[in-house]
């Protein structure tokens, strides 16, 4: 089992959670939609929004941290552009492998409840009864 614990402890924090949190805000989605049309400056980006430049900059930082946009290095004019790789990743995960297994395991959860109930009803072996009594005792503490 050391394999499992080693692996769990070295797992990176979940980058997709960061991405989804960044996408949860309508202003940030609007910024992305604008950037999908092409690279632009922060000032230009801020124009359609009733927001101060610092407020827009804050949103840009969140998007940049999530890997959804890239920003130029020039001090004055920091052009922003969309990072297509990151969005593609979000979409790929949603549509493919993850969705398939999330759905399947969700159904398996429900089915396991059925199996547990069936087992409890039809196989009350002494050891199991004892185990259940023990658990009940723990629960009522």
């Amino acid at each position: 089992m050391s394999y499992l614990t080693d692996w769990l402890s070295t797992m990176p924090s979940d980058p997709l959670s960061t991405t989804f949190a960044a996408l949860a805000d309508p202003t940030r989605r609007a910024i992305l939609a604008r950037l999908a049309l092409g690279e632009t400056s922060v000032t230009e980006l801020a124009e359609p929004f009733a927001m101060s430049l610092p407020a827009i900059s804050k949103h840009l930082k969140v998007l940049e941290h999530a890997g959804l946009i890239l920003r130029g290095r020039e001090a004055q004019w920091r052009p922003c552009r969309i990072a297509p790789v990151s969005l593609r990743e979000v979409d790929g995960w949603l549509g493919g492998f993850r969705r398939f297994w999330d759905e399947n395991f969700g159904r398996l959860d429900d089915y396991l409840e059925e199996l547990k109930a069936k087992e409890a009803a039809t196989a009350p072996a002494k050891r199991k009864v004892r185990a259940r009594e023990k658990q009940r005792g723990r629960k009522s503490e």
Binding site: L4, A33, D91, W101, L112, L115, Q135
Partner: protein
């Protein structure tokens, strides 16, 4: 009260050739193992909500074969089939597998699943080992298993609703 079970599916890529997933189930090891390796159980949950599973055959022993055929609402069938390499109920199972659908058959890959029980809950860890990175990436990103539209179709929709 018991703490709530965290049922989040964790997916990582521990190497260029592998996909690893971990998931906790609120049931003892032997139930999870059987639910995943006996056809009468597998039929009850595996596949996709909108798909039929007309074939679900499992010969659970070393060298034994399995075959699942999924049929989408248009009648298009895709198949997962393979051979068991290790069977140690209820802790571990290893099998080779390939996926096929009309016009496409994947290379073979190896799947290793371990089941660890703690306090009546089971942690399933599955590692899928591909022969090449391209195959691995294809498995992760294509969505072939669900038969969903290509990722870019939906990306276009997502961007459209963002405006």
């Amino acid at each position: 009260m018991d703490a709530k079970v965290n049922k989040t599916l964790t997916i990582t890529t521990p190497s260029d050739l592998e996909i690893a997933m971990t998931r906790v189930f609120d049931a003892p090891c032997h139930l999870v193992f059987d639910a995943m390796t006996q056809p009468q159980h597998v039929r009850r949950w595996f596949g996709c909500a909108e798909f039929d599973l007309p074939v679900c055959e499992i010969d659970l022993r070393v060298g034994g074969a399995f075959r699942f055929v999924m049929r989408n609402p248009d009648g298009v069938e895709s198949t997962l089939q393979g051979v068991y390499r290790e069977v140690a109920r209820p802790q571990r199972v290893v099998f080779t597998e390939r996926f096929s659908m009309p016009g496409f058959t994947s290379d073979e890959y190896q799947v290793t699943s371990t089941f660890t029980e703690l306090g009546g809950r089971t942690t399933l860890t599955t590692t899928i080992l591909h022969k090449t990175r391209e195959n691995r990436d294809g498995h992760l990103h294509s969505g072939i298993e669900t038969g969903v539209a290509p990722a870019y179709d939906r990306l276009a929709e997502v961007v459209a609703t963002m405006a």
